[in-house]
Amino acid sequence: MIDFQLHLPNSLEDAFALLEQYGDDARLLSGGTALILQMKQRFAQPGHVIGLRRLPGLGDIGETADGGVRIGALCSQRRVETSPLVAGRLPLVAQAYRQVATPRIRSMATVGGGLAHGDPNQDPPPALIALGAAAILSSAPDGNGNNGGQRILPVEELFLDYFDTDVRPGEIITGLVIPPAPAGSGAAYLKFLPRTADDYATVSAAAVITRDADGHCREARLVLGSVGLTPIRATAAEDLLRGQPLTDATIRAAAATVPAAVDPLEDHRGSVDYKREMAQVFARRAIEQAAGSAAG
């Protein structure tokens, strides 16, 4: 690892000032499970590392006025997984965080760090996007023409490219807001994990299905992970489900649009074609499972 200077600001204001001062040469450090690895591999070589662990008030989980959940950026992924509030309100979120790596990594890795990492193979983003979650990006008063504000960015719009996010210079992800699951909805997150239990997914699929009084699909959200440069929302499949009865035929027809929607990279987990096909299979299963648990 190339040497660098470590800063441990005690307040967000100090962190913003450091970001302003060191610009491109600075990287933010929370749990370190991504950044330290990148630095060890020399993929990242910042001259300044700004450790966030002393920032106050960013480690809590609470409820929002509308019955959703708000999670501080420095909250460990393990805390999300074990939070009774999250399990009660948004079991899909607990389930997705629970799939990340190992208990030790989840104890270290933070919610904000995971989002900022922008790795398309992570477990939480598909579930968060399917639920319509948003990241809270905070910046200093004089930054980007705002007056010390917060930018609320849907997680769906956060990921721009492979390991690239819309966190702008001077911004720090300070939290995550997840709206309540729609009434009558069912949800599922499936991770295809043929190799080892702590691996990244070969493909993953998150589905949130809402039924209307007739049991038909009122709303569908389907998001695929590990099959592109970012998580991918399968809007064509969603369109085919909306308004339809949730039968084997409609679900299969929707899942059949998935191979064309995804854009996987070949790696040791499988070829492009294999991943396209598995994306279809796991999309179908996720829709089935979500539909099965959605109450009409």
Partner: protein, 171 residues
């Protein structure tokens, strides 16, 4: 760049000048001489370097010592109390939970961390928790048995199963 840091390790506080890039595992082993913590994969996967930082299970090979300045660290050397091994350590000895031993400190620390959040885990919960600790000798059945027995022995009863030849678990 060197910075002055202060860490409490197994209840003893240490102040040192250390480069920012010093990893916690190296700080423990080379600066403090606590060689019980092992480095295996160096990428946070194998679990050999597991220590507790403010009670949280942590991979010390991907943690900067200076980044956890002010924290309380528990390593394998800190488990025995007044010459008595921790029940997990004792169980690993009594039930053969190690072969070559390099993964053992990490296995023991992980098991201790589990029993702290879940004193009575089921076998499935133990398997699930311990999946982040790899054993290159593949001695998983004995490791599992050791943790199961440590649960049975209970954390309160201490090590009362006789043997005190327990240094093997921490070297």
């Amino acid at each position: 760049m060197a910075q002055r840091i202060s860490l409490s390790v197994n209840g003893v506080s240490h102040e040192r000048e250390t480069p920012a890039r010093r990893l916690l595992v190296d700080f423990l082993r080379y600066d403090l001489g606590l060689t019980g913590t092992k480095e295996g994969c160096s990428v946070g996967v194998c679990g050999a370097c597991t220590v507790l930082v403010d009670g949280e299970m942590t991979a010390s090979c991907i943690t900067l010592a200076a980044a956890v300045d002010g924290s309380e660290i528990t390593t394998i050397e800190g488990l025995a109390q007044d010459g008595r091994l921790h029940p997990v350590q004792q169980a690993f000895i009594d039930y053969g939970g190690f072969q070559c031993g390099i993964c053992t400190p990490g296995q023991v620390m992980a098991a201790k961390a589990l029993l702290e959040v879940n004193p009575h885990p089921t076998e499935a919960e133990i398997r699930d928790w311990m999946m982040g600790n790899l054993c290159r000798c593949t001695g998983y059945y004995k490791i599992l048995e050791s943790v199961v027995k440590a649960v049975g022995a209970g954390l309160d009863s201490g090590s009362d199963s006789g043997s005190d030849s327990g240094a093997g678990a921490s070297q």
